[in-house]
């Protein structure tokens, strides 16, 4: 099995997800957990701060129409299987962003608190 990060992109100007969209995202996450594919998932707030060298900048590192709104890491036997799971992410169908699938090179499991 291999691990893939699914980066969820959203339109920076589109505002928060609607309650229906939030519920759909939650259902999708639950499905991934139930199927055993989910390793970790995080939804991110905007209000980002970027650092490079000594410079501190208000805003995202790269100014783009789409910003990373969340990330989840899943386990799948190959790219086709990972794409099948990624395709089920409701954000793919909302017309305000989409997802990017990237193989994970390495990492650590979340540390228990």
């Amino acid at each position: 099995m291999a691990q893939y990060a699914i980066l969820i992109f959203d339109d920076a100007a589109a505002g928060d997800y609607t309650p229906e969209q939030q519920a759909a995202s939650q259902r999708h996450a639950d499905d991934l957990v139930d199927s055993g594919a989910m390793i970790a998932a995080y939804a991110l707030r905007s209000a980002d701060t970027s650092l490079r060298g000594d410079a501190v900048t208000d805003g995202p590192f790269i100014d783009a129409k789409e910003v990373v709104a969340g990330v989840c890491v899943i386990e799948a036997p190959d790219l086709d299987a990972a794409l099948d799971l990624a395709r089920r992410n409701p954000a793919v169908q909302w017309g305000r962003g989409g997802v990017e699938v990237r193989p994970v090179a390495g990492g650590i499991a979340p540390v228990a608190r």
């Binding site: 291999a2 036997p77 190959d78 790219l79 086709d80 299987a81 794409l83 193989p103």
Partner: protein, 338 residues
């Protein structure tokens, strides 16, 4: 040891003509068997690069039949296979034409791995520098291994999209050969031959796929005019100037049979639209019936032409399904209507 040196060693006493003949025989065998050998080796090695390097020694004995069908799977290994795989080459073609690879990369990988074309030749055919092509192939192979693009034939549910990507590559390959994007000659017959070989192989492997049948018919019907498309000075001859008695009747008959069978089969499987090549093939093949007279009219199309298709040359490439994308520069410029 290369295939060429092998040829010299197998025919040391036959003189120059014999040597050239043997070299040609080895080249032919190499072209025919390359994909079989590589595909089988990839399955064992589970790595494209390793397989490409390790299979070379297998090709130095032209008398040995290529080990193209794996018969010695042990039971456990066989049980792991999801489906019965008709031919290892199918896996290879579908891997090279995976939709997550860029269209250009699919074409390059297919030429490199399925056809066994050397990188400099591919670079020339696709109008990029050798360095660029080498980098593109390396990057594509790396993606296959790092992202774990699976080495298998798609499941039936995935087939429409995946097959479209394969057909798109074959069509581009043929078009690049039919109307060469560069060079003094109108045609690159080697590329057209490769495309025809692959379309035949695909048809053998997936005999029930209407799109495969349609593409093979299209290639056959278009390529049947090969000998008559240029004059003695290499100048392009328009359709009405061509000597129709020299059209390849065998290829035309074969295309005709495929088209008629396809039409008779109807839109089996409840397809809403006739397949794309299946539409083009009768449009091209219609000309196959045109006896010898230059004024012979084209028969009416027995199939509906999808909206937006009117006016497009029948041999121009287009994107198949979602697998579409950029085509090699100039490949779409059908400089003639012959």
């Amino acid at each position: 040891m290369t295939a060429a040196t092998a040829a010299e060693q197998t025919a040391p006493e036959q003189g120059c003509a014999g040597q050239a003949g043997a070299r040609q025989a080895v080249a032919d065998a190499h072209r025919r068997e390359w994909a079989f050998v590589l595909a089988a080796t990839v399955r064992v090695a589970q790595d494209l690069d390793l397989a490409e390097e390790s299979k070379l020694p297998l090709l130095v004995e032209p008398d040995e039949p290529a080990p193209h069908r794996l018969t010695d799977h042990d039971e456990a290994d066989a049980a792991k296979l999801e489906d019965a795989v008709p031919d290892e080459r199918l896996r290879l073609i579908f891997t090279c034409c995976h939709p997550t690879l860029a269209q250009q990369a699919r074409l390059a990988l297919t030429l490199r791995l399925v056809c066994g074309l050397p990188t400099p030749d591919i670079a020339r055919a696709l109008l990029v520098s050798e360095q660029t092509m080498a980098a593109r192939i390396t990057r594509a192979k790396k993606k296959i291994s790092v992202a774990r693009i699976p080495y298998r034939v798609p499941r039936p549910a995935e087939l429409p999209d995946r097959l479209a990507a394969v057909l798109g590559v074959l069509h581009l390959l043929f078009t690049a050969g039919h109307t060469a994007p560069s060079g003094p000659a109108l045609m690159r017959t080697d590329l057209a031959d490769r495309a025809l070989d692959l379309a035949r192989a695909l048809r053998e492997l997936m005999p029930d796929e209407p799109e495969v049948r349609g593409l093979l018919a299209l290639i056959l019907a278009t390529d049947a005019r090969r000998a008559t498309r240029t004059g003695a000075d290499g100048r392009l001859l328009r359709l009405e100037e061509q000597d129709r008695s020299r059209w390849n009747r065998g290829a035309l008959a074969e295309a005709h049979e495929l088209i008629v069978a396809g039409l008779r089969g109807g839109r089996a499987g409840g397809r809403a639209e006739p397949d794309r090549a299946g539409v083009d093939a009768p449009r091209t093949g219609g000309r196959t019936d045109a006896g010898g007279g230059a004024g012979a009219g084209w028969p009416a199309l027995p199939v509906p032409v999808p909206a937006g298709d009117q006016g497009r040359p029948a041999s121009a490439p287009r994107s198949y399904g979602r697998g579409g994308g950029r085509v090699p520069a100039g490949a779409g410029a059908d400089r003639q209507r012959g």
